[in-house]
């Protein structure tokens, strides 16, 4: 035993913590002296402090060599800290990491699996080509490691490497190892390998044929499902959802194996299982379908008792599923009743689902829902109330029963009278109901009686679509309005300031009523619309009318136009076109399913390329790093360092990504348009309606085409679409 004083000295040396004093000025210097301190505790504290400063946004990259010195230690905790620091700078200062490469390679052989993982994980993140070359041997070795914890990390590193340097990754042949990992006996390795492969496939679909791999591993996947963690299950279920079963027997088998997971506590596992089941549901025998549907419905319902974000995801997906299987949740309506402490975004989705899942032939259910919606309409949050009123109209139209419609109508009129703030929404809803109940004079009279009492000034109706509807109503039932002319003139006066929907509506109404109005009004409006309006749809519409009026048989044509009756609206719920629906069903629980925008089909564009430091010799890089540090050390006041950085690195090609995005947007707008034009009777699509009202005969088509050539320079896809409607 050493003498007491020596022991005390040793004790002091090991345990004294000389915490670096943080003053505002010499902070870096202080940290640096802490990092090279002879006391291990102090060094560790200094690293922690450095990481803390780094998190707070300070540039501590000049301390890199000092921190790095601490990596050679037996203390795993300290090593981890250094790795945390290195990892953070791997992205912004890749060239600095060169200095650590030797340590990485050594650590990749450390007996402790934790350290092997850290080294390989960090190494595959550093964007320097030369480092990537050093990755080869450690990566190969760790891919074959005895420890599954290391293997599951290594398989992911292959995807990281692929993202950084595709050519190298292919050249090294680690992709083959990755494919082999699909047959690993550890389910977590299998799951991570699957995830890794699908990442690679998303970056470049030509390298591995993911679908074939999934196909040949379906049975392994089904086996692994019961054995692995919740996240691994999600990955594997995701892969299974890509697979199309050969026949109904196999589809049934997959469903049987997957349904058990509908009872997992993790809602993401549940949704992934739902996705697999929906995919296979089309193939199985109708009689077994019923049982599966019951299980599906109870699984979806159960997500309604999870956090609101999850509920939101579920509700958006339920909306997609309901369009394919409308009766799926009919019995579960009460689960979707709004709770007073639901966040607003959940409340609105719930109303949508409630109206959709209701069975229109079940009057009792419809009435129960109507009462519920009426309650909502008397709440206080404006968006919620507005949605509830819209829901009432949608429900009535969906139900279609004459008595039910008039009952709803009364409710709406009551609301209209009771609350000033609801006028906009009630006006729209009432007009929608009238469009449905074509020819029901009583309803029309009641509505007009109430609405025509409003003095027409702008404060009453605020929203564009409410005004549009009001003007439409005047055009439809001119005889039921008092002081019709004054009211209409008041709108015409503000024609130029109005928004497009109202403008089109005014245009249609004025044409319809031209015989009841002073002769100049029509000309006046058409002139305004053609000369002063920038909105192409409105202008084109005016030009079309103008043309019609100047045709030889214009009187007859206009008379025909005015006497036309618009078709009855059967449904005001928005629907997807069938191909959008099918696509969305395969994308359940993805981000695209929340936005209802199917993913872009082709390759996902080039992966955004990163500032890989390429083509330099390793020594050169080391010099570079050293210079970098030397320069910084001189600069005590740390200047903005990023500008220099940009010269070093090849520019990020955000262009490529941007382009892919715009493609996507194009596609999205296309889809949007597709849906709105196909569902003419969608409540707000008044342009379409207006055009449909016109009921133009075949003879005019040529006219229009001629028209089109004249204004071709201005015509956008929008008008194109309008014309297609004729």
């Amino acid at each position: 035993m050493p003498p007491l004083d020596k022991r005390i000295k040793k004790f002091l040396k090991n345990s004294i913590r000389v915490a670096p004093k943080i003053s505002n000025k010499g902070e870096l210097a202080e940290l640096r002296s802490g990092l090279v301190s002879q006391y291990p505790q102090t060094r560790k504290d200094a690293i922690k402090k450095t990481i803390q400063q780094m998190t707070l946004g300070k540039d501590v990259s000049s301390l890199f060599p000092d921190v790095l010195k601490n990596i050679a230690t037996n203390d795993v905790e300290q090593k981890k800290l250094v790795y945390l620091y290195v990892m953070n700078y791997a992205e912004t200062h890749p060239e600095l990491c060169i200095l650590a490469v030797n340590t990485f390679v050594t650590d990749a052989q450390d007996p402790n699996p934790l350290i092997r993982c850290m080294s390989i994980r960090t190494m595959s993140m550093i964007r320097v080509d030369k480092i990537l070359e050093y990755v080869e041997i450690p990566l190969r070795r760790t891919l074959q490691d005895d420890n599954p914890y290391v293997r599951k990390t290594a398989v992911i590193c292959v995807a990281k490497l692929f993202q950084l340097n595709k050519e190298l990754c292919i050249e090294l042949g680690v992709l083959e190892d990755l494919v082999c990992a699909l047959d690993d006996n550890n389910p977590m390795v299998v799951a991570n390998a699957t995830a890794s492969l699908s990442e690679i496939n998303a970056m470049d679909p030509t390298v591995v044929s993911l679908l074939d791999l999934i196909q040949s591993h379906v049975s392994q996947f089904l086996l692994a499902l019961n054995e692995c963690t919740e996240w691994a299950r999600i990955t594997i279920l995701g892969a299974l959802a890509e697979y199309t079963a050969r026949d109904c027997v196999e589809a049934q088998e997959i469903i049987d194996r997957v349904t058990a997971h509908l009872q997992h506590v993790n809602p993401a596992v549940v949704l992934s299982s739902v996705k697999v089941i929906i995919k296979n549901l089309v193939q199985i025998e109708p009689e077994s379908k019923r049982i599966v549907m019951t299980k599906l419905s109870s699984a979806l319902v159960s997500i309604m008792s999870t956090p609101p974000e999850m509920q939101y995801v579920a509700l958006r997906n339920i909306r997609i599923i309901l369009e394919k299987y409308p009766t799926l949740l009919t019995k579960e309506a009460r689960i979707f009743y709004v709770k007073f402490n639901d966040p607003l975004y959940v409340k609105l989705e719930k109303i949508d689902i409630l109206v959709r899942l209701v069975d229109p032939t079940n009057l009792k259910q419809c009435s129960v829902l109507m009462r519920e919606l009426k309650e909502y309409a008397m709440e206080f949050e404006p968006e919620f109330v507005s949605r509830a009123i819209q829901g009432l109209a949608q429900l009535a139209i969906k139900c279609g029963d004459v008595k039910f419609v008039s009952k709803t109508f009364e409710i709406l009129l009551d609301l209209l009278e009771s609350q000033e703030a609801l006028k906009n929404d009630c006006c729209i809803a009432v007009c929608d109901l009238l469009r449905h109940a074509v020819g029901n004079e009583k309803l029309a009279t009641d509505a007009c009686q109430l609405l025509s009492t409003w003095p027409v000034n702008e404060t009453l109706l605020l929203s564009d679509s409410a005004k549009c509807n009001y003007v439409w109503l005047m055009g439809q039932y001119p005889n039921k309005f008092d002081e019709l002319q004054d009211k209409l003139l008041c709108f015409i006066e503000n024609f130029v300031e109005e928004e497009p929907l109202t403008q089109t509506s005014i245009l249609v109404t004025v044409v319809r009523l031209h015989s009841k109005l002073p002769g100049s009004v029509l000309q006046n409006v058409l002139e305004l619309a053609t000369n002063q309006i920038q909105e192409l749809d409105v202008r084109d519409m005016a030009i079309i009318y103008w043309r019609c009026l100047s045709m030889p048989n214009s009187d007859q044509l206009i008379a025909e136009l005015c006497s036309s009756v618009s078709p009855q609206i059967e449904n005001t719920l928005h629907t997807f076109t069938s191909d959008v629906l099918e696509k969305l069903l395969t994308e359940i629980s993805s981000v695209s399913s929340i936005y209802f925008k199917p993913q872009f089909d082709g390759p996902r564009g080039a992966v955004r390329h990163h500032n890989v430091v390429r083509g330099r010799h390793i020594d050169e890089l080391k010099d570079l790093a050293k210079n970098e540090l030397a320069r910084k050390a001189n600069d005590d006041v740390l200047l903005d360092f990023d500008d220099d950085e940009e010269d070093l690195v090849s520019p990020r090609s955000s262009m490529a990504g941007g382009r892919a995005q715009s493609h996507m947007d194009d596609l999205d707008t296309l889809f949007d348009f597709g849906t709105s034009s196909s569902s003419q009777n969608n409540g707000n699509d008044n342009i379409d309606k207006g055009v449909a009202d016109l009921n133009l005969g075949q003879a005019e088509q040529q006219q229009n085409q001629q028209q089109q050539t004249q204004t071709q320079s201005k015509i956008n896809s929008n008008t194109q679409d309008l014309l297609d409607l004729f």
Binding site: D75, E91, I156, N226, F340, H610
Partner: protein, 447 residues
């Protein structure tokens, strides 16, 4: 897949981040706060996902934090992301006790380490706290004592990647016990006349296991669908407090959800609940029941508003439960207009106070015996000037309570069989039942 996870403060400014893949610009997160603000200005509907410039901002709120996951691809599994973020909060809570801006700022290192371990390249990995605690031993600043560190360098336990990834072997307890808590939360909406508009029971079976080795447990409950054949004499049958006076009928549970330790395929095929439990406390399963329930605690609330002078509230509360049962910590929250003031109360039991932050009166009764009825009346002044255009806020009366030794659904544990193949110890299962109010036990007030 997730590109980065950010912890942001209440205004959306980043505090801490972990970037998993560098396919998004570092500045992307700076857009989050303005996006949020812009949305808030436009309307009060704020969905938990924002999209800007091809980047998806998926976020949850936790205390005063926004936890944001950034993703680029529309193919990202959004359910997984939200589930992960919630799980992350759960794990951090076990490390830091409470996760809020301050505790995040104090614990950068441990959060970095956990983020590193729980997700790799945007793919969730190991999230089981009990396993993480074995090798993420960084001291965190929290109210609890730090985990005692072993001398040997921490290594990932081999079990994390096994099929039983939630339990370490070689666990030893002196006394082998398992505690079952059956908690039923009642959600109910009533109107002022006492009519139940809707009700549901959300049940949880929580287990606290203090068992050595690798025990295999088998749970039998009186559910119709669940196979509850029980081999006599194999282990002690559990007696329950609810059996008396009730017929041993089987009930039907809906939406059963199980902890990942339950063998789901076994349940699917044979309707037997079997599992190897994690050590310590966890939620074994939950269920939902939509049978009609009569109000357990009923309040007859009468509100009279004399506009521009005062508001009077009369409330009679009745415990409609068995005489022998007692409802504990009953809280009745009655909304009052936000401009009411100068309260005066009359009451026989408990305590009443005005909570201006919530614009409500809170009546607390510590223990409420079945069959009893208490009453309370309150009077508050209203300002003589009325703001007319203010929208009238309609809030319901909220009630909270706990009733021990009682389940509403009548669910019973028939047996809990514990077998440890190697150690063959004697073990003691304990069962407790409790019924409490859910987060939506409310009485709707008429106008």
């Amino acid at each position: 897949m997730v590109s980065a996870v950010y912890f942001c403060d209440g205004k959306g400014r980043p505090i801490l981040s972990r970037r998993y893949r560098d396919d998004i610009p570092i500045s992307a997160i700076d857009k989050f706060a303005p996006l949020l603000l812009q949305l808030e200005e436009e309307s009060s509907v704020i969905p938990p996902c924002l999209s800007h410039d091809g980047i998806q901002y998926l976020f949850i709120q936790h205390n005063d934090l926004y936890v944001v996951a950034l993703a680029t691809s529309l193919a990202t599994n959004v359910a997984q992301v939200f589930a992960f973020l919630h799980k992350l909060m759960e794990v951090l809570e076990e490390y830091l006790k409470s996760v809020e801006e301050e505790s995040v700022r104090d614990n950068f290192i441990i959060i970095y380490e956990l983020l590193d371990e729980m997700m790799d390249y945007g793919i969730p990995q190991i999230t089981e706290t009990k396993m993480l605690k074995q090798y993420i031993t960084q001291k965190s600043f929290k109210l609890m004592k730090a985990v005692k560190k072993s001398k040997a360098a921490p290594r990932p336990p081999t079990e994390v990647t096994n099929s039983v990834s939630w339990r370490a072997p070689n666990i030893v307890h002196k006394k082998n016990e398992a505690f079952l808590d059956i908690v039923e939360s009642i959600n109910m909406l009533m109107n002022q006349q006492g009519q139940v508009l809707r009700s549901e029971i959300i049940g949880q079976i929580k287990v606290k296991s203090k068992l050595s080795g690798m025990p295999d447990l088998k749970l039998g409950i009186n559910d119709k669908g669940i196979f509850s054949k029980y081999v006599e004499g194999d282990s002690d049958p559990v007696t329950t407090a609810v059996t008396e006076g009730k017929k041993k009928t089987n009930i039907e549970l809906e939406d059963l959800k199980f902890h990942q330790c339950v063998r789901l395929s076994k349940f699917e095929n044979e309707k037997i609940i079997t599992f190897i439990p994690p050590d310590g406390a966890f939620e074994l399963m939950n269920y939902r029941l939509s049978m009609p329930v009569k109000p357990l605690i009923w309040c007859d609330v009468n509100v009279q508003v004399h506009s521009q002078s005062r508001i009077e509230i009369h409330c009679r509360a009745r415990a409609q439960i068995k005489k022998r049962s007692i409802a504990n910590s009953v809280e009745i929250l009655i909304p009052v207009p936000d401009d009411a003031d100068t309260p005066s109360f009359k009451y026989t039991h408990g305590s009443v106070k005005w909570v201006p932050q919530k614009n409500a009166i809170l009546w607390k009764i510590r223990s409420f015996t079945g069959g009893k009825e208490y009453s309370m009346s309150a009077q508050m002044g209203l300002p003589s000037i009325n703001a007319l255009d203010k929208p009238k806020v309609k809030r319901p009366v909220q009630i909270k309570f706990q009733i021990p030794y009682f389940t509403t659904s009548g669910i019973q544990v028939r047996y809990l069989k514990i077998t440890e193949p190697k150690l063959l110890y004697k073990s003691y299962p304990w069962v407790r039942y409790i019924t409490q109010s859910g987060d939506d036990y409310t009485i709707k007030l008429n106008n």
